[in-house]
């Protein structure tokens, strides 16, 4: 199949970028979106041009590295999938596909489609952990946790930190990400001891990184490759407001 690409090219964080047109023939509908980019880069390198820089790693939807804003949507037209899980059969022959990097103040462009998502790392470093060693798998089995709570924690823990929530949100808000990180620890006994201070610190760091506020449009949850629920944002709000009223941090 033939694909007309419009790809955001930007030399580095300080340079101005623009959309550049590329035409690809002989694209297989069975290729993943990233494989299509491999073909493009191969052609560019053979011509002596600079290949398009884009993030990718596992290519099986679990690492959270791929991050393309495709035809106006984070990770493209499919729901519940990352860019690497998107296949060219989702497009029609001769389609024009616009590819841009995530856009957010907190995610500055490094090059082309690559953005710096270390703001997420710093949010997690501010409190998204349990401070003590909670043991190995054997110890986990000795802490009985009701199935519904384990499922709730697991649903939140599915977050791969790709940043699609920020990219899709009209406010570039990181609430779904922070909510997932706060939620999966807050519902489990190992995480409960620090749940107040965690919510306070992670929200403070989220604000400091320059993410927007939540307007509850629901775009994040729709575009999330793991379909993380807005219930977790409500829990984050509860945890944060409860912490502000009850925590020891005056």
């Amino acid at each position: 199949m033939k694909i007309n690409l419009k790809v955001w090219r930007q030399k580095n964080g300080n340079a101005a970028g623009k959309l550049v047109d590329y035409k690809l023939d002989n694209i297989s509908p069975d290729m993943s979106f990233l494989e299509m980019f491999d073909v493009l880069n191969d052609e560019l390198m053979h011509k002596g041009d600079e290949p398009v820089a884009f993030d990718h790693d596992c290519r099986e939807g679990i690492c959270g590295m791929c991050s393309m804003y495709i035809n106006g949507r984070a990770h493209g037209p499919q729901t519940g999938a990352t860019t690497c899980q998107l296949h060219m059969r989702s497009f029609a022959d001769g389609d024009t596909v616009i590819v841009e990097p995530w856009r957010a103040r907190a995610f500055p462009v490094i090059k082309d489609l690559m953005v710096d998502r270390s703001a997420f790392d710093r949010v997690v470093q501010s409190g998204g952990f349990v401070s003590v060693n909670t043991g190995s798998a054997r110890d986990a089995n000795e802490t009985p946790i009701p199935r519904t709570i384990a499922d709730e924690a697991m649903d939140a823990a599915q977050c791969i930190g790709c940043g699609a929530c920020v990219a899709a949100c009209k406010n570039a808000s990181a609430m779904l990400f922070v909510a997932a990180k706060v939620s999966h620890l807050a519902v489990l006994p190992q995480g409960q001891a620090e749940s107040s201070i965690r919510a306070e610190r992670m929200v403070a760091q989220m604000d400091a990184e320059g993410f927007g506020a939540c307007s509850f449009t629901g775009a994040c949850s729709v575009e999330c490759p793991k379909s993380i629920s807005l219930d977790h944002i409500a829990r984050l709000n509860r945890e944060y407001l409860g912490a502000k009223i009850t925590s020891e941090a005056v």
Partner: protein, 232 residues
């Protein structure tokens, strides 16, 4: 009280202020629409004028009304601050975005809808609230007691087709504002549970987004139709 200011200055704290002022304004709408239903009473405006007198002289109502004015101002200013903050969070916009694929229109345009409502509130208060408090206003007499005849002001205002149209448009904006705003107010407070969220969503749609704006819009339409003689 540094922790208080710190909380209220955070993105979540600001949303809480939006939520509390917004939900308070929602409760006001219930009282306002219920009281104004007396306009439909075929008694030449007596019930409405007596009600207006009560609302402007009862000390409890008067105290709550100052809370109401404050809520409107705080809600609007906080919305402005949040909008600026949110826009600054994405300095470079997408060349091509399809937000309609993942979120309802009303949820993305609360600022525009709110601006329409703020303009409406200013004009609405100039027409009725200002005239009621500072005149000039005709008087009516019931059982030997003088009342300000606000009913006559209502009749006069709603005899203008463009004024009626403006009210209907504003109530459409109210409808879209509340279909998102009411349920979001609870989400911000963390009140989301399978036991009561369906009720909140039901009330948000059927009461706050449909029933209340429709009743409000029915008032100018009713008096205009009366004025042109379509209804008796």
């Amino acid at each position: 009280m540094s922790w208080v200011t710190q909380t209220l200055a955070s993105s979540l704290g600001r949303k809480v202020i939006m939520s509390l002022t917004g939900l308070f304004l929602c409760t006001f709408l219930i009282v306002h629409v219920a009281g104004n239903l007396q306009l439909f009473k075929a008694d030449g405006g007596r019930a409405f004028n007596e009600y207006s007198f009560f609302m402007t002289h009862n000390p409890v109502i008067m105290t709550v009304s100052y809370l109401l004015y404050t809520s409107i101002v705080v809600h609007a200013i906080m919305a402005l601050l949040l909008t600026r903050h949110n826009q600054a969070s994405r300095p470079v916009k997408y060349a091509y975005a399809r937000p309609e694929a993942n979120s309802p229109w009303s949820s993305r345009n609360m600022g525009i809808l709110g601006t329409v409502l703020l303009i409406f509130i200013v004009i609405h208060m100039r027409t009725f609230w200002y005239t009621m408090h500072f005149g000039p206003i005709p008087m009516a007499e019931y059982d030997g007691k003088e009342y300000k005849d606000l009913y006559k002001i209502v009749l006069e205002a709603f005899s203008n087709w463009w004024y009626v149209l403006f009210y209907v448009i504003a109530m459409a904006a109210l409808s879209y504002h509340l279909v998102h705003g009411f349920k979001s107010g609870f989400q911000t407070l963390g009140l989301r549970h399978k036991k009561y969220t369906p009720l909140i969503e039901f009330l948000g749609v059927w009461v706050f987004s449909i029933l209340i704006p429709a009743l409000f819009a029915a008032m100018p339409v009713y008096f205009f139709l009366k004025h042109v003689g379509v209804i008796g």
